[in-house]
């Protein structure tokens, strides 16, 4: 029956991720006293892009052509290892595999950014690699701190293990989650690290790297970024609120777990919209301060657990 869970995991991530983006945009619009587009608008955008023809630079190599498939593939692979609606144990759920599959996606996105020789893509890739290098420490250490508390390095098994964690784990768990939250914003090009809504050359990071893409490949790149955000949110909410996961393959248990998961994701997406509406984007040379904060919060969490 495990294969059903795998199919369900992929279906949920691919099917739900555009709606999460739509929800964040809708909440942000409401906070700016605008009506905003429908929460289903990202689905329409993806459908439109999949129907469009592509324009690819003559200088583009196989890296540029294949990067969207690789980046999209990494997010599908990650969907198989994370806790969504039921505990599961796959090698893809190991924290180091998770971190390096994420890094592989970022690496190919950055390569694609510089492949066409565009100045925009070049500086976007440069900034992305700077941010990724600084984020990685905080991301891995925050997951390591959580794994010390849970007693497992497998993301899929962490929520169930955290339900039995002692009260001593509360402070380090919250510190690790704060660190993971900062890494979530940085890895997904959200405020205050990057502004996903801008095409202003001085502020672009992620958007600069995919500026040369169009049509189907752009759709894949956009969809992959939606998936990545949902994957990070799923880990965050299921570790912060580890209850509500299905304990059997029965349809009733899976349905109620899905409903609880949707509520958790809605809360997290609204929180991201609230953060993005209430703070300004940091200048690029202030970003390391934030990312080092994530790293040190994880270190403090680990110290409290180990000492």
């Amino acid at each position: 029956m495990e294969w059903i869970t795998y199919i369900l995991q992929i279906a949920i991530v691919l099917g739900l991720s555009p709606m999460v983006i739509g929800l964040i945009r809708k909440v942000k619009a409401r906070m700016q006293t605008r009506v905003g587009a429908s929460v289903f608008q990202p689905y329409r955008d993806l459908a439109k892009l999949f129907r469009k023809d592509e324009v690819i630079s003559e200088d583009a190599s196989w890296v540029f052509r294949s990067a969207p498939y690789i980046v999209f593939g990494t997010t599908v692979a990650l969907a198989l290892g994370i806790p969504l609606i039921s505990p599961l144990s796959t090698p893809l759920g190991d924290i180091l595999v998770f971190a390096y599959v994420i890094a592989t996606g970022a690496f190919f996105t950055a390569l694609a950014g510089i492949d066409t020789g565009s100045a925009f893509g070049g500086f976007g890739s440069s900034r992305e690699m700077t941010i990724a290098a600084l984020t990685e420490g905080g991301l891995i250490l925050s997951l390591f701190a959580i794994s010390l508390i849970a007693g497992t390095t497998n993301l899929g098994l962490m929520p169930a293990a955290l339900l039995d964690a002692s009260g001593r784990a509360l402070a380090p768990l919250l510190l690790a989650l704060a660190a993971f939250g900062i890494a979530l914003l940085a890895e997904n090009a959200r405020m205050p690290v990057d502004n996903p809504a801008t095409h202003l050359e001085l502020t672009m990071v992620h958007e600069a790297m995919i500026l040369e893409y169009s049509g189907k490949r752009l759709a894949l790149m956009e969809w992959a970024s939606y998936n990545k955000l949902l994957i990070f949110i799923a880990i965050f909410v299921n570790i912060l609120m580890p209850w509500g996961l299905a304990e059997s393959f029965a349809i009733g248990a899976q349905s109620s777990a899905l409903a609880i998961f949707l509520v958790k994701v809605t809360v997290a997406a609204s929180a991201i919209a609230l953060i993005e509406s209430s703070i300004a984007k940091l200048r690029i040379f202030r970003v390391p301060d934030l990312l080092i904060t994530s790293f040190v919060l994880s270190v403090i969490g680990i110290l409290i657990i180990v000492l």
């Binding site: 002692s166 009260g167 001593r168 509360l170 402070a171 919250l174 510190l175 390391p288 301060d289 080092i292 904060t293 040190v296 919060l297 270190v299 403090i300 110290l303 409290i304 000492l307």
Partner: protein, 218 residues
């Protein structure tokens, strides 16, 4: 004191995490908000102790703590922030990465064997957490140049000490808590007068921007 370890750790974490966040926060109003969270945690701990001991005096002390520490003192501090237009407290002696490294060192020190002389140190995870919160706010006072951060630091320091004393089993009575809250009220009045004098004399309440021309007696 017979409260379960989990309750103690939750209260200790609710004091430690805001103490840590105070060192990261840059807005003075955020510092005050974090102090309110700490104060509510202290009042919650006193309520739990009163329930555990069946002492009505501690219940009144908890209510008094909420009134003074979570309502009166923050309102007073917010008024000071508005009056002196001191919304931000960005200036510090150490930059953010170094400050955070110092805080991790402080936390590690709080868990060291130096404190094993405290009777329940090895049995209760909340004790080193509270010691770390006390050191974290001490570091805040030393590291920040703004007077508001120093005032909030002193108040947060007192929160950590009160909770540590409660958890170590020091007898708590309404009279003791009343004296502590009275002490807080007096401290706020003194701090307010001190800030007014400082502002009148130097034209600023942050050492980073004190007017050097006013630093000598005429």
């Amino acid at each position: 004191m017979h409260l379960p370890i989990l309750s103690l750790t939750i209260f200790a974490a609710a004091v430690y995490l805001p103490a840590l966040a105070m060192n990261i926060a840059r807005k003075n109003s955020t510092l005050v908000l974090l102090y309110i969270i700490q104060s509510i945690a202290v009042a919650g701990a006193l309520l739990a102790l009163s329930y555990d001991a069946g002492a009505a005096g501690l219940l009144y002390a908890a209510l008094l703590t909420i009134a003074v520490k979570a309502v009166m003192a923050p309102a007073f501090l917010l008024r000071l922030i508005k009056r002196y237009d001191a919304r931000f407290s960005t200036a510090s002696y150490l930059n953010m990465p170094l400050s955070l490294l110092a805080l991790s060192a402080v936390t590690a020190f709080s868990y060291s064997s130096v404190f094993s002389v405290i009777p329940i140190f090895n049995r209760s995870p909340s004790t080193p957490l509270l010691i770390a919160s006390i050191f974290s706010v001490l570091f805040l006072m030393v590291n920040r140049r703004g007077a508001i951060a120093d005032i909030v630091g002193v108040l947060a320091f007192e929160n950590g000490v009160v909770l540590l004393a409660a958890f170590l089993g020091v007898e708590h009575s309404f009279a003791l808590e009343f004296a502590i809250t009275f002490d807080i009220a007096v401290w706020i009045a003194i701090a307010s007068a001190f800030l007014t004098m400082m502002y009148r004399h130097y034209g600023a309440i942050e050492t980073a921007i004190l007017s050097m021309t006013h630093l000598t007696e005429e």
